[in-house]
Symmetry: C2
Subunit: 340 residues, 2 copies
């Protein structure tokens, strides 16, 4: 076996954790890409807070690293939505480098961004590589639920509830969620710009595809979650006053053409002291089935899952490998390595 070579593409909250996990799994990091001028030119270990020098300088342009270092995988953690991430994925795929990403829409973008999905699928195939997304949803909202569905004789409805802490993902995510807005400002923004379907819809559509069901109608709603008391936001470094937006509740319900209904309520908000992430599902039908994960470590689980998915991404047939097509998720106990 030889060491696996990776690029850490994006050195924010998630990329910094992933850099540590990769090194602990004996992966060779051959490049680190960031946008922020205060990260560029510094050692990855310093930027990611590893406590030691990684011997890799953070650079702004991925091209030279992709062209010269022959990485096996680019772990891309930059932002959300395929439209935002398109160019980042393109440059990796065009250089013949496989991608795994935490970008949420990529888990199943066939209906929310079908043109971009087809374009990236084609590009990956042309270059003989794969684009695969993973994260906490791979485990908690998709594969645990799809497995539980395997205990059902007849499913009438699948209903999930989960929560995540906006403060875990840095100021950019807090801004997307509009933490700190007044109710009026939040409503006006929603009226004027709408809100793109996010992880919730892609999650449900993956579950539906895995069960061999067909999508009928899709209904989504967004409701702001207001602070009940003044609440400190770690990611924004300030206190959100009472009655301002602390987060959002995204709800999507998909009625399948085959009968069963799938719904997921996802609350993303700044937590108060002592709160932790929850994941809870109910399958109605015969029999009725329950699943609950307390204290979900969503952020670290996202990073660990993406790393555990690297061998699956490398081994998959070229193309956009959506989550319904990835094999059984596995824990990877030892070093990640490749046949020599």
């Amino acid at each position: 076996v030889r060491k696996l070579k990776a690029i850490v593409y994006g050195v924010g909250a998630m990329g910094s954790i992933i850099a540590r996990l990769l090194l602990e799994k004996d992966v060779e990091i051959v490049g680190a890409i960031a946008r922020s001028p205060n990260k560029i030119g510094r050692d990855l270990g310093e930027v990611a807070g590893l406590g030691f020098a990684a011997g890799v300088t953070v650079t702004a342009d991925a091209r030279p690293v992709l062209a010269q270092c022959a990485p096996d995988i680019a772990v891309v953690c930059v932002s959300s939505y395929l439209s935002t991430m398109r160019e980042h994925f393109r440059v990796c795929l065009e250089h013949g480098v496989n991608v795994v990403t935490t970008e949420e829409e990529s888990i199943y973008p066939w209906t929310t961004a079908p043109d971009l999905a087809a374009e990236l699928d084609r590009l990956a195939k042309e270059n003989g590589v794969t684009l695969a997304a993973s994260g906490a949803q791979d485990v908690f909202w998709i594969n645990l639920v799809a497995t539980l569905m395997g205990a059902a004789h007849r499913i009438d409805a699948v209903a999930g509830r989960c929560s995540w802490n906006v403060d875990d993902y840095g100021p950019e995510v807090a801004a997307v969620v509009r933490v700190g807005d007044t109710r009026a400002k939040f409503d006006r923004h929603l009226r004027e710009h709408g809100r793109s379907d996010f992880v919730v819809r892609a999650t449900l559509e993956t579950l539906i595809a895995r069960a061999g069901l067909r999508i009928g109608s899709v209904k989504s709603s967004v409701v702001p979650l207001l602070a009940e008391e003044d609440t400190a936001s770690r990611s924004l470094g300030r206190v959100i006053p009472r009655e301002r937006v602390l987060g959002v509740l995204d709800t999507t319900t998909i009625r399948t053409a085959d009968g069963p209904t799938f719904s997921l309520e996802m609350a993303g908000r700044v937590y108060r002291e002592g709160e932790s992430d929850l994941n809870e599902w109910l399958i109605k039908g015969e029999p009725e089935l329950h699943l609950r994960n307390d204290h979900v470590p969503t952020q670290l689980a996202t990073c660990a899952t993406v790393v555990n998915r690297i061998p699956d991404g490398i081994a998959a047939e070229p193309g956009l490998v959506t989550l319904d097509r990835l094999p059984q998720l596995r824990y990877r106990p030892a070093q990640l390595a490749l046949p020599a």
Copy 2:
């Protein structure tokens, strides 16, 4: 597509439910096998309590049905342990018929019954068919846990606790568990006969195989669970007096050669009013992960899962297909059918 043809091999508590599920999934039942003289010669619908005639007569000898009806699958629900089930499996495999079974040791018998496992594996291969086991453990104790392990960066220990109601599985299982014994009689029987490793060990060994880890040392214990008050047993049709055996707590701990420890505590006992099955797991390591299923419908889930596994068993490479080798478990929403 054409209808799938099945034999219901064993028409007890489980086989009776499975017969209904198969018919509801549009499977053609071409034979039903039972031992008990009061079942033989009657219609399957009557014996299984379906509320209608199934048009299939329950018979004692599987051979004529296996030879003449060309079934695609035999769903075998007779008893526990490979040593007990050997002849039942042999007769199906020798007739070139695939088997799925609720027999618990078959999920991973490579260490508890290696000679029998090898013999049945060879026989299945010679006849171009498969032998696969499933049941509630496929979902609740194995695949949910293996999936959750996929969210871990480093696992130190995997620990499960689950319970099942002895009264759900008929008088034979209650006798195996020694419900109604005095403590002294239970201890004497254990001393004289020991207790074969059961579902617990096979479950843990499947999880260990799925993670690519190696078994180090295995430690098992059995403790009787005594009635705290007089408790009615539905399966035995009598009251178990206070201080008599209501069930057993089986605990197995496996230390892997690679470090992580796997343990499972399984309590099987006669329930009091209002109790229900529980499944709860904790993964220690980085991060710490929790899973909990309340009100597990173990009996019905076992039947539904075995039926959902039929297409996997038929599609697998010939041989003994232990649970670590079966593909992702799926809900089968519509009829079970085969390409024409």
